[in-house]
Symmetry: C2
Subunit: 199 residues, 2 copies
Amino acid sequence: MIDFWFSIGSTYTYLSVMRLGQIERESGIVFRWRPFSVRQIMIEMDNIPFRTKPIKAAYMWRDIERRAAMYGLPAHVPAPYPLAQWDVANRVAVLGAAEGWVADYTRATYRRWFEDGLEPGGEPNLSDSLREIGENPARVIAAAAGAQVGDAYEAATATARALRIFGSPTFAVGSELFWGDDRLDDAIAWHRHGSLAPR
Amino acid sequence: MIDFWFSIGSTYTYLSVMRLGQIERESGIVFRWRPFSVRQIMIEMDNIPFRTKPIKAAYMWRDIERRAAMYGLPAHVPAPYPLAQWDVANRVAVLGAAEGWVADYTRATYRRWFEDGLEPGGEPNLSDSLREIGENPARVIAAAAGAQVGDAYEAATATARALRIFGSPTFAVGSELFWGDDRLDDAIAWHRHGSLAPR
C-alpha cells in the first residue's frame, strides 16, 4: 500500500487525482487517500511557492497544461487559484475518508475545478460533486463543519507534519516520501523494489 | 538544439550535469550549456527554497540521493551547501562557455562537489578541476575575475530573466521552458515532437 497524502487546492495534485484510479487498476497497488491541510504546514514553514511569484506561477500552469495533455486530461488552465474555501473542500474529503467515498469525491471536485473552472469547497462544485457520487449535500456539509471532522482534519495534518510532509501530493512508502505528481513512478518503484529501478 | 541553462551551486543540477554527455551521444541532440546566476534571479523573486526550510532541504538531499543511485551516480549527500564562492564558480563557467570548455569544467567541478565534498569556486576544487581539463588555473581565475567576464555573466542572467527562467536547471526549447532535472525527458520530447509524447 502507498499512502497518497493530498490537499484539495493543490494544483499539481490534479494530475495525480485524475490518474490514480487507472494506476491502481493496472498496478494492483492500493493507494490510501489521506487528505490533510498542506496549507497549514506551508504557512508554518513560510513556504509560498506561487502567490507572490507570478513568473513561477505562470510556469506552473504551463507545466500542468503540457503534462495534462500528455496524460490525456482535458484541463483548462489557469484554474481559479488560490481557493477561497480550501478548508471546506478538505474537511469534506476527511469525512469522505471516514465514510469510504473520498476518492470519488476528490475526482469529482477536481474535474469541476480544472475542466469547468468551478472552485472546490464552493457552490455549485461542492453540492454537485456530492450529488454525483450519491451523497446528500446537506448532510455532508453539516457534518464536515462539525467538531468531529475538525478534530480528524487536525489529526491528519499532525500526522503528516510528523512524517515531515511539506507538499501535496506526497506519496509515502513506509518512511520514504515522494513529493509531487512527477514522483509517482519513483514511489511505485520503491514500493516494488525498495529502490528506484535503474532507468 | 536545447539550451541548458544552469548555475553551479544548484543541487539538482548535479543530476543533469552528470547525465547530459551520455544523453547527447545517445539522442544526437546538441545541448548548449548556458551558465547564469539563478541566485540573483531567486533573490529578486524572494524565492528561498531550502535555506530557511530544513525539512524541505532534508527531503531534497534524500530525493537527489535516491535519483543519483537510479542513474548510477556515486553522490555523497548532503554536499556542502550553499556555496561560499557561487559567483566565482559561475564566472569561470561563463569564461568556459566563451572558450569551449564549459561542459568539461562543470562536470569536473560538480564531481568534486558531490563525490569528494569539495565546494565549487573554492580551492582545491577550482584549480584541480581546471587542471584536469587542461586549463591553466592562474590564467582562468584572473580572467574570470575581470570585467569582460563580469559583463557576460550579467548579460547571460539578463537573458535568462527575459526568458522568464527562475530555476536551475532549465531546459529551453524555443520559448518552452522545462524546469528541473526531472523535466529533461519532457524537453527532449518537445524538441522532437513539439508536444510531450503520450506516456
